[in-house]
């Protein structure tokens, strides 16, 4: 079994009277695609927000490569090479697509202009942006148009492309294909595979079961703020998975080979 890249034990997160995470455990192995599924409100987004430093959990611990880490903000996680594409699309609507792609990871021009005048290399960023978006086969006319003028799916592609482009350690994607068309959705799956093939593990939250079964190595089922089970998509059927997810089927009753 390959080594654990990321691990969480007994994470707790409360919002006022709502307990979003109720002692959830989590394991991500090297080089795998881990799908996280669950009903609406099961605590999937809350989980990955804790893993990426977007919120600070109230309890529990997170280990990265076996070492305990404490992320106080997204910057801490980013420094460790963890990139995340959030469900409520963290984009700056008034800024251009290229700017959004490189937000916080801007390229500077080489030589004097870059090191002393700290001038941005807008041309290079533009070219790279065009390339990255072409990877996803999104037909966007101009990379210098503001994100607020994009269609819902186009906007999502921007956020996904950003996370995939800059990760050095872990990629986290929260429902990246939700607003995407058939073609664009397949492109994102393709992109995820490419990232995995580079050796980076990917956490993929999705409600799209065909997608999950097409691509995931293991499936983490979130339920009522806890982890209900970790399933092996090669051994379990889609309908059983949904049954576990909705609570209709007790995972303890599953044959051991279905678990992963």
């Amino acid at each position: 079994m390959s080594k654990l890249v990321m691990q969480a034990k007994g994470l707790v997160k409360r919002y006022g009277q709502v307990t979003a995470l109720d002692g959830v455990d989590f394991e991500l192995r090297a080089g795998e695609i881990l799908a996280v599924i669950g009903d609406n409100g099961a605590g999937k987004s809350s989980l990955i927000k804790a893993l990426s430093g977007a919120t600070v959990p109230d309890g529990g611990e997170i280990l990265l490569d076996g070492k305990r880490v404490q992320f106080r903000n997204p910057m801490d996680a980013r420094r460790e090479g963890i990139e995340c594409c959030y469900q409520d699309l963290a984009v700056a609507p008034a800024m251009t697509i290229a700017e959004n792609l490189f937000l916080g990871r801007e390229l500077r021009r080489p030589g004097f202009a870059g090191t002393v005048l700290r001038q941005l290399d807008k041309k290079k960023m533009l070219e790279t942006a065009i390339e990255r978006m072409a990877d996803l086969k999104v037909g966007i006319r101009s990379m210098t148009q503001a994100v607020e003028t994009l269609s819902g799916g186009q906007r999502q592609c921007v956020a996904v492309a950003r996370a995939a482009a800059f990760a050095r350690h872990v990629v986290i994607l929260d429902e990246p294909t939700a607003a995407l068309g058939v073609k664009e959705g397949n492109m994102v799956l393709e992109l995820i595979r490419r990232v995995r093939d580079k050796g980076l593990p990917v956490i993929l939250i999705s409600h799209n079961m065909p997608h999950v079964f097409e691509i995931a190595d293991r499936i983490h089922v979130a339920r009522l703020g806890k982890r209900a089970a970790v399933l092996n998509p090669k051994k379990i059927s889609m309908s059983d998975t949904v049954a576990v997810m909705t609570g209709a089927l007790d995972p303890a009753k599953l044959p051991a080979e279905c678990l992963a």
Partner: protein, 318 residues
């Protein structure tokens, strides 16, 4: 990229349109308006508010607001003149002290906004009062005279044709260009827009939003310090009564210049145009011999018209 795409979008031309319209009207109705000397004069008249408005623009771009700007500027001018005139500090050192104090005020504003998450309106209302009181107490409400000549250099002028350009005006324009470059062409400048546009997204992307905000407030304090020096150079004294109306003037310049009070949208050169619009109105109305109450009335109407022209022209373009 076609020429059309290279031009700024029409939304950023608004203040310049208003400026042009005002100029034409005054040029036709008065004799002395359309002279190079008069334009040089107007620039001199707006240079203090102009520099304050740079700091104000930065803060408004982050969806903040700074009511303390003028009073902090006044405090800075008292500090630098008193340190030089009363304690005999060398002018350069005295100037540095003044700028240090205004920057400190910027830092305090910034810390209160970022650490305790207080609304900028309240924070800077508080520091407005504090700066005012310190100015009065420290100066004993006395104008500081005997300011060394070398501190006034920025108020001196050089001739270009028949008009007299003040060095301070050159400095103001240089500062605008520098701020423009910074906001447009550097990562930290773009982050100012991002923080104002969507603070949560900016934070999630891993940009230290608090540090961006703090640096904006500190930088604004620095600009207010430079404005202190300019007002000293322009008036030749340290004036404890100065700075009471500059906050509204500066915010007006920013908003006339097309920057949104909700943050994240605007171009700093518009602020310069906005400041000049106000100066042109005042100058042109005086030249027309409009009496002072009517000046207030007409200014009120023209300010609304200036923005309305902008808005309507944009609608037409759609």
């Amino acid at each position: 990229m076609s020429l059309k795409e290279k031009l700024p979008p029409l939304s950023q031309l608004g203040p310049f349109i208003a400026l042009a319209v005002a100029c034409v009207v005054f040029g036709v109705t008065t004799d002395n308006f359309f002279t190079a000397a008069n334009f040089a004069l107007i620039l001199q008249q707006v240079m203090v508010v102009g520099v304050i408005a740079i700091g104000q623009t930065l803060i408004i771009l982050t969806a903040g607001i700074d009511l303390s700007c003028g009073m902090v500027m006044a405090l800075g001018s008292i500090i630098m003149t008193k340190f030089a005139a009363d304690f005999g500090l060398p002018p350069s050192l005295a100037i540095l002290c003044g700028i240090a104090v205004t920057t400190l005020f910027g830092l305090v504003n910034g810390l209160l906004v970022t650490r305790i998450k207080l609304p900028p309106f309240i924070v800077t209302l508080g520091t407005f009062n504090i700066a005012f009181a310190i100015t009065q107490l420290y100066s004993s409400a006395q104008t500081v005279t005997n300011v060394p000549e070398s501190m006034l250099w920025l108020g001196n002028t050089f001739s270009v044709g028949e008009s007299q350009i003040a060095y301070g005006v050159v400095l103001m324009v240089a500062l605008y260009l520098a701020a423009w470059y910074w906001l447009r062409d550097t990562a930290s400048g773009r982050h100012v827009y991002a923080v104002g546009n969507n603070p949560e997204a900016t934070r999630l992307v891993g940009i230290p939003t608090d540090r961006v905000l703090l640096s904006v407030y500190v930088l604004a304090g620095l600009f207010y310090g430079i404005a202190s020096l300019l007002t000293v150079a322009r008036t030749g004294v340290g004036d404890p009564n100065g700075g009471q109306t500059e906050n509204l003037d500066a915010i007006t310049a920013v908003v006339l210049g097309g920057t949104s009070l909700f943050g994240g949208r605007g171009v700093i050169l518009g602020t310069l145009a906005g400041a000049i619009v106000v100066g042109v109105l005042r100058n042109g109305l005086t030249l027309m011999g409009v009496s002072s109450v009517y000046q207030v009335l007409i200014t009120g109407i023209l300010v609304i018209l200036a923005v309305a022209v902008d808005q309507l022209s944009r609608k037409g373009a759609r």
